[in-house]
Symmetry: C3
Subunit: 266 residues, 3 copies
């Protein structure tokens, strides 16, 4: 039985309808009886590794101690490696395709990394297309039962991990800040790849330019400070700037979506 | 480690895609190692406090003993208070905006209420927009670790809690019963704010009037008693009258939606 | 308190928004404090017993030891029986409408079957339309607390269980294999009711005929072997043949859906 404080958290693009996430739970309980399992989200956009890496980075400070199975994996079954990456008090387990490093960075950087090459703990499977069930969950179960990274495979340098380009956040010549939309959430809040520090102190209003539109956004602390229909800018619960609205979707009002790039001017 | 029988149940409008619910799980496990967490639903319609209060009331008799973090919170970060409300063998934790009282009433009424004002257990956060993660889940973790309501803040009278108007259920001059639609479920059943006792005993057929339509509804016990396409009325699994169909959606057939008001005549 | 290794897994068509699944969790924790509960899926298509039986069969080899509450139940409240069916190291609990037998078969067949007729463990309920909460979850809780099938009701022969017709997989006169689409998953993979053994060894290309279309499908091991837009055939993670695509939905590309029948030719 696993130690009571060891939790396996899951973040994938599997959706919830097909039983893929349920299969991970089953394998974990079968291999590590008594383990506790948390679903962070199975709603990452299908095969969007970049969106998954941002979701995992946001989740990082709030993860329960233990292992984190993270799977957005269009290259499943190919030469891309599976890895386990220790950072803070968690171990991320998943494909080496860029998904994990931003979250590991958010926890102070990878302290140890191994390649998942010891097939002893893998599940026998009729095909190589479900590594979450057949490789990553079994690897997490090894850790849940008290194993270490050395039980999973040989060490590699964290510097060898595949990394994606970070979301855009750059000053342009005109005194503006060009920033990427990193996330549109369930409420239509539009998170940007910039923090209040990037913007500079003390603005009470900010101009947001996108395509042909120029929006004046009042800087607020809470949604309720905005009038109905008004768009504003606040520091969201992850410390990022976000365009928001009061009781409506800022994304729907503005037309902005993930990966769009806007210009901010104080 | 929490006592094995202490469960933290969650009901929110967060959706499942963004990791908001997962963050609550993470905080609970981090603050109260070994705690058990149940998702009642994260599918309350966005920012619809009234719908959330009805969902929480329906869930009340079937809650596991422990704490219940309930969040539908358009006023997050403003002057609206956070509260913990003990009723039956659970403690509801959430905003004081009307969400909690109907569920507390269903469990015999609030026995103790405190305001969540002791910031010692709050999470440090970059902004005030995610009270579920930063205030309510940490408060539930205090309880999961054996704390009491006095560890969360100062007592207030349950009578001071904000309350919403209950769903309409009133007799009209013409001998009919005007009742509100309280819920359309996943199967298209249309729950009404009336019980068989409100309707009077012994009807085998009921007339439902809405806008220009008059529907004759056979009173049945099970869906399978209805012919394909036939609309009927039964006592649902929560003891409320509900319009239903056999293998189809009564809501889609009738056009009725939540908060519509219909007239019933025996 | 239940043994730490006893898990109750859930598979239903309840959806996640209404709190139906949450009510099952609540009842299980209330009746069997400390029990562990896993959601396999609550996304079976509404009232589609056949799709549910296929989903349960796919889940079977990966179930945690314990009980499995399986509910897709359009005949709820009628004469259809509730049953508990032991197979492998799990006990399936649900309606006797064809949902359970394929999964029991996948685990070596039912070793013991009882009818859920002892009302002592049922929950009192205002109506008979939520057997998952009022009958099946309480039955699973009896098992979680160490009870046996004899505590649930009287034995019946597994041969008496209702069975649905299996998905079509038959040779036709023209040397082709007529196979049914058993599943379209979240990624658009199109699972067929045939295995590589049904197709015969060694093909590197297969012809798939459907309506007026004839598709040449390259046989591959991983999605990444296919060119963008190319449709292929692989052995999926459940050992079945599946039409797939690389980074796109094979179902959307082909127009195929569940229960369609196609012809395969080596």
């Amino acid at each position: 039985m696993s130690a009571p404080a060891f939790v396996v958290s899951l973040l994938t693009d599997y959706g919830l309808d097909d039983g893929f996430a349920g299969a991970l739970h089953g394998v974990l309980h079968r291999r590590a009886p008594g383990v506790q399992v948390v679903d962070i989200s199975h709603g990452v956009r299908r095969q969007d590794v970049r969106a998954g890496s941002q979701a995992l980075r946001r989740a990082a400070p709030y993860l329960a101690p233990g292992a984190v199975v993270a799977v957005v994996d269009p290259g499943v079954g190919t030469e891309r490696r599976g890895v386990a990456v220790a950072a803070g008090d968690v171990v991320f387990v998943g494909p080496d395709n860029g998904l994990i490093p931003p979250a590991a960075d958010a926890l102070g950087g990878a302290s140890e990394t191994v390649v998942l090459e010891d097939r002893g703990y893998w599940l026998a499977a009729p095909g190589p297309t479900f590594a979450g069930r057949d490789v990553f969950a079994p690897a997490a179960a090894v850790l849940a039962r008290g194993g270490g990274l050395a039980d999973l495979g040989a060490p590699v340098s964290p510097g060898d991990l595949v990394r994606l380009a970070p979301p855009a956040c750059r000053r342009n010549g005109a005194g503006g800040l060009e920033v990427e939309v990193t996330w549109v959430d369930h409420f239509g809040n539009v998170q940007l790849a910039a923090t209040p520090a990037d913007l500079g102190a003390g603005s009470s209003e900010v101009e947001l330019r996108w395509q042909t539109a120029t929006l004046k956004l009042r800087v607020v602390r809470t949604f309720a400070e905005l009038a109905p229909g008004e768009l504003g800018l606040l520091t969201d619960s992850y410390g990022q700037l976000a365009m928001c609205s009061n009781g409506a979707s800022a994304a729907a009002s503005s037309g902005l979506g993930e990966q769009d790039v806007v210009e901010l001017r104080p």
